[in-house]
């Protein structure tokens, strides 16, 4: 099994103009509209919905981390639950044992995960596809075991986990409650990191990363330092997912080894594919899917929740094989064809 370049929906809309200022496009309008709505939602929605939306954003960020590695760099990972858990525990331990302010735990988690991801990326250079899958699988299985390990219990809380004190909004914002404040914190962090990722992808670095995915030998022939970029991407990818994990520690206010199993890795992978591999906005759709579809399956039948989830998954994959982003891309391409050739009814 090889990740061929046509396997991953190429995000074709990467402008190659250098230095050209970008004209406002419908795409920008959509993004702006989304941001405005995102900031306005807490005014009308309940605390519980804010909690759920925070989780959606967090999952979207975690999926973005995986996307950077798998979608943009072609390195298959089943191990991102480990980085998510590592970020969450870093935040929890810093707050629980050392009483560090919650905002500082986010960059701390990011740095720790970057280092671990980078270090993991080094041996991963030698492994391809399925073999890399096994290595990352090993990482994902190791994490809960390490977290439960009795020698580390004083820090990690062992099997019982750690309770995190949910931060309160700052005094000058006392009219909003804890859930709304955490939502805004999450929203700002996620927006910033998404913007950073988008910028990265459109830059020379991003093109190098994608070139490595598409044809590593040609990329090396063009002078790209393949090893450096691959390990750096691993690190950045781990950083993103780690920050998502740290945010989740704040929002859920509890960490335990059972929260970070291989099944989380699989869910992230599913979310990535459903959102659209290689698509940045698709990650948020993946996050929505990760949170709400199990609930939907559960509401249809308690006993067969897993089976219904599987059926929904199959239907979505049949209808949108390239994920939501691929579907939107195909639909808008069809629309623009109709616009260009109204007389022929859109048929070529």
């Amino acid at each position: 099994m090889t990740l061929r370049e046509d396997d991953i929906a190429v995000s074709a809309a990467v402008p190659i103009q250098r230095g050209a200022r970008m004209r406002p496009t419908p795409r920008h309008a959509v993004i702006a509209g989304f941001v405005v709505i995102a900031f306005a939602v807490p005014l009308i929605a309940s605390s519980f919905v804010m909690f759920q939306l925070s989780e959606v954003l967090i999952y979207g960020l975690a999926i973005l981390g995986l996307n950077l590695l798998t979608g943009f760099n072609g390195q298959f990972s089943l191990g991102h639950s480990a980085f998510y858990g590592l970020g969450a525990y870093t935040a929890a331990i810093l707050m629980h044992n050392y009483e560090i302010n919650y905002l500082w735990t986010l960059p701390a988690a990011g740095i720790v995960c970057f280092v671990v991801g980078f270090l993991f990326g080094l041996p991963a250079l030698r492994l391809q596809n399925l073999y890399l899958a096994l290595a990352t699988f090993a990482l994902a299985t190791a994490m809960p075991q390490i977290l439960k390990f009795h020698a580390l219990e004083n820090w990690t809380g062992g099997v019982q986990g750690l309770v995190v004190d949910q931060p309160d909004p700052p005094d000058f914002l006392s009219m909003i409650d804890g859930d709304q404040w955490l939502y805004y914190v999450t929203l700002v962090v996620v927006l910033l990191m998404f913007a950073a990722a988008a910028t990265l992808v459109r830059s020379r670095t991003g093109r190098a990363v994608m070139a490595i995915r598409d044809n590593p030998i040609a990329a090396a022939a063009m002078g790209i330092n393949v090893s450096l970029y691959k390990t750096l991407t691993f690190g950045v990818s781990a950083l993103y997912t780690g920050v998502a994990g740290a945010l989740s520690a704040l929002v859920v206010a509890f960490v335990a080894p059972d929260s970070f199993t291989i099944f989380l890795s699989i869910s992230l992978l599913v979310g990535l594919v459903i959102g659209g591999v290689g698509s940045i906005p698709g990650c948020l759709f993946g996050g929505l899917f990760m949170l709400y579809v199990p609930n939907i399956a559960n509401s249809l039948s308690n006993g067969l929740a897993g089976a219904i989830y599987g059926v929904i998954l199959l239907i979505v994959i049949f209808v949108m094989p390239a994920g939501a982003a691929g579907f939107v891309r195909a639909a808008s391409a069809q629309l623009s064809r109709w616009r260009q050739n109204p007389a022929e009814g859109g048929h070529r």
């Binding site: 099997v159 019982q160 986990g161 309770v163 059972d258 929260s259 199993t261 308690n302 929740a305 989830y309």
Partner: protein, 407 residues
Amino acid sequence: MKQFTRRTILAAAPAALALSVPFVSARAKDYGPGVTDKEIKIGNTGPYSGPASGYSPVPKSQVAYWKMVNEQGGINGRMINFISYDDAYTPPKTVEMVRKLVEDDKVLLVASPLGTPTNSAIWHYMNEKKVPQLFVATGATKWDDPKGHPWTIGWQPNYQSEGRIYASYILKEKPGGKIGVLYQNDDFGKDYLKGVKDGLGDKASMVIVEASYETTDPTVDSQVVDMKAKGVDVFVNCGIPKFAAQAIRKAAEIEWKPLHVLSSIGNSVGATLKPAGLDNAKDLVSDFYLKDATDPKWKDDEGYKWWSAFMDKYIPDGDKTDAGYVAGSSLAAMTAQVLKQCGDNLTRDNVMKQAANLHDVMVPMLLPGIKANTSPTDFAPLKQVQMAKFDGQRWNLFGDLLTGAVG
């Protein structure tokens, strides 16, 4: 169109104000969130899917129990709307589902959420929001904490106290023994191990092998072989049915006959001993607080007959050898008792008051003599167990009711 009598206005007003502090007054009829004249809404979470789905009979039997209660007229004239969500045994999902129950569905209380990490995740939230977290379906020691967490109440004899009971039994029967403990590498397993070691006190060095396993391990044969090779002659087997059965069978295969103490998690005749081989399980010792539905001894017992009829009518496809159905129906019966005791005063405060006010409450599948008791300083309803020895056909209870007194 309903008549606006004084009664309905009194009923409607507190329900409408359910978002804020519920009415606490000395009036004859007092409603918290989720309560009307005709209905009480209560919530629950459990692992219907995911790797822990083996425990799904526990919430499933609760759903069936409340269906039975409603068909028999409800409690004090009110139907019970039992809302049960799947949390796949992942704490973040439990938090989400419980918040949904409390903030969206506006239930009066949450009954018997299953699992230790999952209950730990919502522990703080439930106490902060002052929502009753009744009869949690786990045996961790921490739930008996009326001062620190007045809105959470436990249920079963906790694992550490069971471990202590095994330790005192071993000290009596084989004081010079070399002990090997097989335990699952998670909260309940580690609790059992701690209980055994604490119960041995300064003789804790009798434990020479601490063999853990993961639920993803295919077999525990290696751990059993290890114990025999190291000269263990007292085997404390705290595995769940699958691994307990494997250990029993392997021990017989390698002709190893230690003093074999089985925990209550893995002692069902039908679910564990039969697959392991009834002959291989002779002379096993264990502790019970619930009746084993597969033990022929209870065939004519009133409690068993009630349970069997309940299963036949409400869960006809259910596997009667699964102890989860016994646990779940017993849990629901306990919550039903609390609601009954509340009468018309169905506020959250009164629910906790009644939950802390159980005197010698019996449910059909509890062992004869074992009753639930709570008080404002004692949030552990079931504390007693009784030891039994397996003779190749059935468990024979012996000795007095014991308490391990932890927590």
